[in-house]
């Protein structure tokens, strides 16, 4: 990425592009990954309320998955889930699974 010179940036460290945190893909920080047991999920969306990174995907008011581009793996969703439907698993293991899935 080319960094800008001092004449090209807003003064005072201000960030004037609203919503630009989308460009910051915090999913790369993750060492634990939430895995959801859909048999236990009641779609209460408590996880959506608590997620600090807006990484809980929702469709038609129902839980629809986790956005792994932004999920940092903090585990708050797993801790708050009233039905204990979310388990935090080792990210390296989970990735291996992704790889195996891909091969299938």
């Amino acid at each position: 990425m080319t960094l800008k010179g001092w004449r090209e940036i807003p003064i005072g460290g201000l960030i004037i592009d609203a919503g630009n945190s989308k460009e910051y893909e915090t999913g790369s920080w993750r060492i634990k990954r939430p895995v959801v047991d859909m048999d236990r999920c009641s779609h209460c969306l408590i996880c959506w309320v608590y997620c600090p990174d807006s990484a809980i995907l929702v469709e038609d008011t129902r839980f629809a998955g986790i956005d792994l581009v932004y999920c940092k793996g903090c585990g708050i969703c797993a801790s708050e889930c009233p039905r204990k439907a979310i388990t935090m698993v080792d990210e390296a293991q989970a990735r291996k699974g992704d790889h195996d899935d891909h091969q299938d």
């Binding site: 940036i9 005072g12 004037i16």
Partner: protein, 399 residues
Amino acid sequence: MTTRTEYVKGTPVALDGDRAVAEAMRQVNPDVVAAYPITPQTEIVQRFSEFVANGEVDTEFIAVESEHAAMSACIGASAAGGRAQTATAGAGLALMWEVTWVAAGTRLPIVMHVVNRSLSAPLNILCDHSDSMGVRDAGWIQLYAETIQEAYDDAIQAVRIAEHPDVMLPTMHTLDGFVLGHSLERIEVLPDEVVRGFIGTYNPRYSLLDVDHPVTFGPNDYHDYFFEHRRQQIEGMERALDVIPQIGEEFGALTGRRYGLVEGYQLDDADFAIVALGSINGTVKVVVDELRRQDRKVGLLKVRSFRPFPADKVAQALGGKRAIAVLDRSFSFGAQAHPLFLEVLTALYTHGFTPGMANYVFGLGGRDTLPWQIRQVYDDLAELEGVVSAPVRYLTVRE
């Protein structure tokens, strides 16, 4: 004190420095004032609170729990797009220190009225410039007043300087505690509408309350951009060198009182000059007049703007003088010499001048400085030749 609700242009009134500043604040009618009372600034806050209580201003007055909170509240109010002001002195300014940097780094045009007071210990409530010199590197514009009239005029001009789009830096103007703050002098207070016309309305480019254009204030800023943001602040300071006199001229056209970065007094043909900040300039002028009557070629350079420091103007005014005494009303322990002296010396050296120079520390903790002591400084200068190896002297200190 007689409070006149209607001021008439050209009709002088009697006001002390604190009340004159409070009047300027009333006329500016800031959106937010957050302040904590401290001697010798107390009367500013007290008086302004009365204006708030009486409905004479629309200001949201926040009676904060400390000066750190006062500046923090001003930062929030200014980021929200309001005109924010505070006033402090001495230890209050020291407690504010951390957040003065935040105000400047975030480029918030806050105006602060500083009534100069020494820093403890030993405990002292009287005037020196240790408080404002303690924040000289924080990124604030600093104007120093010689008289109560100047303090009032600076309080108004500070709003325009701070908010100028080329500058966008917080601005403090100072008046010497007690010497000006608690002294009654004859001054002209402008009619309210003249002040309001002069300052206009503040239209911030960015504001936290502008929900259609959301902005983030105060994010993390590391090795990739922090330095660039500092470079921008430096640019703001440099541009203030043009903006301060420009606004001073505009103010002069309105009032007959023109302001620049520095003011020379009997300087053009002078061989020997004194350089100073603040109320001592008046005493020096009296001595200059007296010595001029004896045909001694002496003059004075009053520095109004210490930050930004007008090096070109100072060198232009002092270049070619035989000897120069710089008066400092503050002290930097362990330094080779003191703040104003080092600025003047650097300005002269970088412009190719090497006159004899001496640095007089004076007036610490409210020590009075009398005309005969200033005469002594001019007498010393006449003896001074070339560069001095130990330039610091202490005026009035007992051995």
